[in-house]
Symmetry: C2
Subunit: 178 residues, 2 copies
DNA sequence: TCGAACTTTCAATAAAAAATGAAAGTTAAA
DNA sequence: TTTAACTTTCATTTTTTATTGAAAGTTCGA
């Protein structure tokens, strides 16, 4: 019996690939509590060799001016998108941080500041209630302490990573595997 | 001049602390794309010394039967909540995984399977488009390759962590700090 | 096999989040 | 200044997501 193996290599063209990338990034963002437009604008900027104007972005993603403006601002608040000016032009242009390691570092930094640290504070408050000897109080204290400890450890790890040089991921990986 | 330092120690009672914990966990979940009810049910189970019935949960969180049922199922799909039966009772009871390290490991495992791996596949497809010499194509290939590499590394790290023994966090931390 | 005790499903509704676009605001060159 | 080019804001609308609850489904003991 003859067996025939066929290897399908799917090769998209530029536009297909670009759209696939942008829509995948948008869908992934949604899954992580980031709105679609914001994730898509970011995806678009990350693969664009040139800075883009607001008009460019609106046109490309078919979204309104207001939406574009608000989401660009949020991306700038996260420190991963920047305004740029071209000489002799009024219009503002936007670029993304292009170095993915720097991008990861910046996102880690912001998530720590915005989410992890406030959570740690509350876990600490909750785990400091007065022990009254009941099982439910014991369990609440025990579990919030455990979560507090884990959150603390994560935060320290993330901050370690944030302060790390360019190749931290490779190095951390080597260390973990050893 | 006399300086007086006052240290305020906020001590909530059990119910305040419990509510604070449950609502904080819910709000945090929302931020991460997890619905409020699901996060709150999980929070409730994690601090409950005894398994709870559907009635208990509905009552405690003031949510409907359907909502409770669907979210419990999702939590079970994530492998972090389990059904339990009490002898001689028809009713089903639910408990959460109580070990926060095991919890973290389970969540890491599922997120890798559900999100990271599909994303890696798409980044791979996109980065394999035909190089046509234009700047935009070059940039698309370069950036999706960089993201692919980072996602791969993260996935390897997460799987490493998943396979790790109980104290992985402490150990990983020691290694990173060294 | 019945029926009571319980759970799941799902169409309908409610709530929350995102998007729109026109008006108000800003800026810089003339 | 004025004005034209551009950006931001925010009340309104649209879309998406979560929730409800009643009907259908399941399971087990008698």
């Amino acid at each position: 019996m003859k067996v025939r193996k066929i290897l399908y290599i799917c090769t998209m063209n530029y536009d297909e690939a670009k759209n696939k990338f942008i829509s995948t990034w948008g869908a992934l963002g949604t899954l992580w509590g980031i709105n679609k437009a914001m994730a898509q604008i970011h995806a678009l900027l990350i693969i664009s060799p040139e800075p883009l104007s607001m008009e460019d972005i609106m046109e490309e993603l078919q979204i309104s001016r207001g939406n574009t403006s608000m989401n660009l601002r949020q991306l700038m608040d996260w420190g991963i998108v920047f305004k740029e000016n071209k000489m002799g032009e009024r219009k503002e242009y936007f670029t993304s941080e292009k170095d993915v390691q720097e991008l990861a570092r910046q996102i880690a930094k912001e998530r720590s500041r915005r989410e992890l640290q406030p959570t740690i504070k509350i876990l600490n408050d909750v785990s400091n209630i007065k022990e009254d000897g009941t099982a439910k109080t014991k369990e609440l204290i025990k579990q919030t302490k455990a979560l507090h400890e884990m959150a603390d450890t994560l935060d320290i790890m993330m901050n370690k990573v944030i302060g790390q040089d360019q190749n931290w991921i490779a190095k951390a990986l080597v260390k973990l595997i050893k």
